[in-house]
Symmetry: C2
DNA sequence: GCTTCCAGTGGGAGCGCTCCCAAAGCGCAC
DNA sequence: GTGCGCTTTGGGAGCGCTCCCACTGGAAGC
C-alpha cells in the first residue's frame, strides 16, 4: 500500500510506486509526523538540555557553538532539535516531564551543577542520555568531553617554558568538573616543573570575577609573573586588572586563558589560550546520541585541546 | 472517563477523580504526548528558525539571549522550543518540511536574508508565523522588532550634541532591514542637525569589517571626529583601528555602537551604545505566537531602544 | 500437470489519546 | 407516579500513520 511506497520499502512494483508518487504530487499530500511518531514510537526529536541555576549562562557563546555543531549532526539523522533551558523551576519540571514521558528520542545534558537532580532523573529515564562535559562525580555511561586536564597542563607548561616562576591560577567554579579538571592540569604542570602551586583562587567564569581574582592576586602576591585563568572571560578580566594596576602584559605578567572564544581574539593584547573544539563537541554529542537511538553502543569520547599562542603569553 | 479526570474537565465526581489519581500514582502512569498531539492536532511545540547563509552568525550572543527570552515565555504556555538553524541546504529543506506538515504549532522566524524563500513559504504555510525583526520588503502580518531608526537617530544626535561636526557612519549589511533602518536613523539625525551625511560605508556586522571600514574612513576623511557604527562588533573594530592609528577615543574620534552586548562593556574604552531589549524581543515573539496559536489576533510590536552612555562618546 | 515459492497487493489492527454521544442516576416540580 | 433537566458515567469512533497477515498470480521445479 501507499505507506510502503512512500518509505521506499521493498515489495512494491515500479508502476505502483510511480502511481503513488503522482497522486502525492496532485493531492499535495504531506505525511503527518505526529501520526507516524505514534505508530513508530519515535518522536523524531532529540533534546538538548542546558541546566545551571542562571538562565544567563546560556548567553555564553559557548552554548551557541555547541548548538551549531549538534544541529548539523541531527540534521543529518533527520532529527529535530528541542532546546530546554532548565534554569527555572518551571523549566526543570518540564525537562523532568520530557524524560518521564519520552517526549524525545534521546537527550543531551549540559552544564549540570553538582548533585544536579537531572543526573538521577536521566539515570532513571528509559531513553538514551549523552552528557556534554562530565558532571562532578562518577562518569556517566555516555559522554563527550574535552581534555580539560591536558589543556590546562599545556597552558601552564607554556608559562613555565617562558621562564615564569610565580605561576598563579584563577580557577573556574570548583563545583563543576571542568573547573576542577583545569585546576588539576595546572597543578600537575606546576609540580612537574618543581614549582609551588598556588591554592585554588576561585572565580565563576565571568569577566568580573576574573578581574576581582586578579586584584586579590596582585595584592597578596605582588611578585606573581604569570597567570593561568580557567577560561577566556576571566582571563580578559585579569588582563583589565593588570592593565589598570599599571603593569604590562606579557612583560610583567603573562596571561593564558581557556576556550578560545571571540573575546580571546579581540582582547588587548590578544589572548594566548587553550583552543577547544566546541562545534565538534556538539556534533559528537549528537552523533553519539544518534548511535544510541539506533541501538548501537558507542564509547565515551574526549576531544583534544590545543594551545593557541598569541600575544598575552 | 480517565481522560476527563486527568485534564480537570468538568462533570467528574470528586470520588472518581480521586480514584483516578490514586491509580495514576500506583501504576506510574504518564500520558503519551504524541498520542495527545495526534488527537488534538496540536504538537505542543513552537519552532524558532534562524536563517542566514552562515551558521556561525548564530554564534552571536544576540540569538542566545533571544532564546532565553523566548524559552521562558514558551515555558509559561507549556510549549516546547524547537530550534532550526536554516543555514545549510539540508536545514532549509527541513524547515520547509516543518512548515508544510505542521510539525509545530507555530514558527518564529529570524535573521532572514533579502528575498529569503522562507518568507514565501511562511506565507503559504497554514500555521502562525511571527517575525523577529522585520524582513526587507513589505512588513509581515505579525512581527516584533526594535526601534532601529529611533535608536540610530538618538545615537547620532548624541554625537552631534557633543559638538562633533564630521559624523561618519559604518553601516551594517544593507540587505537587512536592521542595517537599512539604522542608516536611515543616522541620516535623519545628521540632516536634522544641518550636517552632511556620509555615504553608507558598508560592513557586515563583524569586528573585522568594522576595523576595515574605519581604516577606509580615516584614509578618505582624516578630519572625521565621530562615528556611528551599526553594531557593537563593528564599533569594537573601529575602536581598534582608531587606537592603532594613534588617535584617541573619544578625544579625537567619538564612537557609538548599537546592541549593548558584553563586548560593549569590556571594550577599551567602554562603548557608548544603543541598548536594545534582546531577551524581551524573544519573550514578546513567543507571547505573540502563543496568542496566535490560541486564536487571538495580536498586533505587531516595536520595542524601544535606549542610548547607554559610557566612555567612548 | 501439479505443487512450491515469492514478489506484489489489499485489508485491518493497533499506537494512546480526545471528544462526542447515549445511557444511567438523581433530584425536583407537577 | 410521571416527566423534565441536570450531572455523571461508559463506550467507542476517530486522529493518520505503520506493520503484520492473508491473499493473489505468475514463474520455477518436479
Amino acid at each position: 500500500m501507499a505507506s510502503r511506497a512512500l518509505n521506499n520499502a521493498p515489495h512494491v512494483s515500479r508502476a505502483k510506486r510511480e502511481a503513488v508518487e503522482r497522486a502525492v504530487r496532485q493531492l499535495g499530500y504531506v505525511p503527518n509526523p505526529t501520526a507516524r511518531a505514534l505508530a513508530t514510537r519515535q518522536t523524531g526529536a532529540a533534546a538538548l538540555v542546558v541546566s545551571g541555576e542562571d538562565p544567563s549562562i546560556f548567553a555564553d557563546p559557548f552554548f551557541a557553538r555547541v548548538i551549531v555543531g549538534a544541529s548539523a549532526a541531527l540534521d543529518e539523522a533527520d532529527l529535530h532539535l528541542m532546546l530546554c533551558l532548565a534554569a527555572s523551576d518551571r523549566g526543570r519540571k518540564r525537562v523532568e516531564e520530557l524524560l518521564r514521558c519520552r517526549g524525545a528520542d534521546g537527550v543531551m545534558l549540559m552544564a549540570l551543577r553538582e548533585d544536579d537532580p537531572l543526573i538521577r532523573m536521566a539515570d532513571e529515564a528509559q531513553l538514551p542520555v549523552v552528557f556534554g562535559g562530565r558532571p562532578v562525580g562518577p562518569a556517566p555511561r555516555w559522554y563527550v568531553d574535552v581534555d580539560n586536564v591536558g589543556g590546562a597542563r599545556e597552558a601552564t607548561e607554556h608559562l613555565v617554558s617562558l621562564g615564569r616562576r610565580r605561576v598563579a591560577v584563577i580557577c573556574g567554579r570548583l563545583d563543576t568538573e571542568a573547573g576542577r579538571a583545569r585546576y588539576r592540569g595546572y597543578r600537575d604542570a606546576v609540580l612537574g616543573a618543581g614549582l609551588d602551586p598556588f591554592p585554588p583562587l576561585q572565580g565563576d567564569f565571568t569577566e568580573r570575577s576574573g578581574a576581582a581574582a586578579m586584584a586579590a592576586l596582585l595584592a597578596e602576591h605582588p611578585d606573581v609573573d604569570a597567570v593561568f585563568a580557567a577560561n577566556d572571560n576571566m582571563a580578559a578580566g585579569a588582563l583589565r586588572t593588570v592593565r589598570e594596576a599599571g603593569r604590562r602584559v606579557p612583560a610583567d605578567v603573562a596571561v593564558v586563558g581557556f576556550d578560545d572564544l571571540t573575546v580571546a581574539q579581540v582582547a588587548d593584547p590578544p589572548l594566548t589560550t587553550v583552543h577547544q573544539p566546541i562545534e565538534a563537541l556538539g556534533r559528537e554529542m549528537a552523533r553519539m546520541l544518534v548511535a544510541l537511538v539506533n541501538g548501537q553502543d558507542p564509547t565515551p569520547l574526549v576531544l583534544p585541546t590545543r594551545l593557541t599562542v598569541r600575544a598575552s603569553a
